[in-house]
Symmetry: C2
Subunit: 215 residues, 2 copies
């Protein structure tokens, strides 16, 4: 049987996804005060599911909501992005360490194979930052899930990454340095393959620290 992607998709989920991508991509300016009815007409929704989605978004810190006053997208600053990277540094360090201890051999092989395809992509589209960003996301995604720590993965994948992507869109901070990042990814994967959790943690922290300084 197929994996049943027909997992019933409620309107509220749809609203949540639409809003989230709209916020992350910058279609909704920060500080912009938007009415609910306008959002409804914009995404073909009714206010019930929309409000549910707004609650979820607020809980995740992507927008703020004052009672009877409306909702507005969170404003961003470079300092806050820095703080976000500090959090990522420690949390992904932990994820890398646990991944080194817990990923299956098959997963590790997949991880390294993924890096090969990333390398080919970078070679093909020379300097195209887009593939690099996707590949970067993919790499960190696999390690987060590989940590076998449900809450950690949820925090990284569900909260932090969206925030980081939003900030990067807003501040137009392209990740740049594709080759260097790939090399660092390689070394991290190598450490994981050797089941050296301490080294994997150290390398991951340094990797994210370097990315932060690159901003």
């Amino acid at each position: 049987m197929s994996e049943a992607a027909i997992q019933t998709y409620t309107r509220a989920d749809e609203a949540f996804d639409c809003l989230q991508t709209a916020i992350v991509k910058g279609d909704l300016a920060p500080g912009e005060k938007i009415g609910e009815v306008e959002l409804c007409s914009r995404f073909n929704l009714t206010r019930g599911p929309l409000r549910e989605a707004l609650g979820r978004l607020e809980s995740r810190g992507l927008l703020v909501r004052r009672p009877h006053a409306g909702v507005k997208v969170v404003s961003v600053s470079a300092e806050e992005l820095m703080e976000l990277y500090r959090i990522r540094e420690t949390m992904e360090g932990l994820a890398a360490r646990q991944a080194a201890e817990r990923m299956t051999d098959e997963e590790i092989a997949d991880l390294q194979a993924t890096l090969d395809t990333h390398e080919r992509m970078i070679e093909q589209a020379q300097g195209q930052a887009y593939y690099q960003a996707e590949g970067d996301y993919d790499f960190h995604h696999r390690i987060a899930t590989g940590s076998r720590n449900a809450k950690l993965a949820q925090m990284l994948l569900g909260d932090l990454y969206y925030m980081v992507r939003m900030y990067r869109y807003r501040l137009s901070t392209s990740s740049g340095r594709p080759h260097m990042a790939l090399g660092e990814h390689r070394r991290i994967a190598e450490a994981i393959a050797q089941r050296d959790g301490e080294l994997a943690e150290f390398l991951m922290k340094r990797h994210i620290n370097a990315a932060r300084r690159n901003i």
Copy 2:
């Protein structure tokens, strides 16, 4: 003027708080499938605000919701609590380091004064774990906010602490060891007062690690 505690409190907020405390305190059993109408009659609400609150709770990982099938409280295990403590260890370590660098002298004085009152409370109610738990919460709360890292504080205070408290209620894991914890708190505060971020981080990590092993 007073700080305006009359901050308008919407029904959805009320529902959110009620549900959250009910889940944390264990009034709603884990795995229990509860109907929306039952919840409404239980907390004197209507389904609109309730659904909004349910969305927020789901987003925070306190309950799971399958479309058209109902909601149920998350089931818990000792392993997951361990994982939670691992996350706390790294994140609160970071918080302690940043707090050492950023708290004002006044905040540090307040922090140490708080520890004095904790000590008196422990002496008075000998062995009473309740005050210790409250004091513990208070201490970590101050450090999280003192880190001047909004997202970090949000993650710790808004997500992790509720989860930890829920698990502790479920597994009836009283924190125990009040005197030892107080001493560790004292040393952490001392390191912060000396602006020694590295030491504060190290001590905090060890403190939480000890608490984890105590389970």
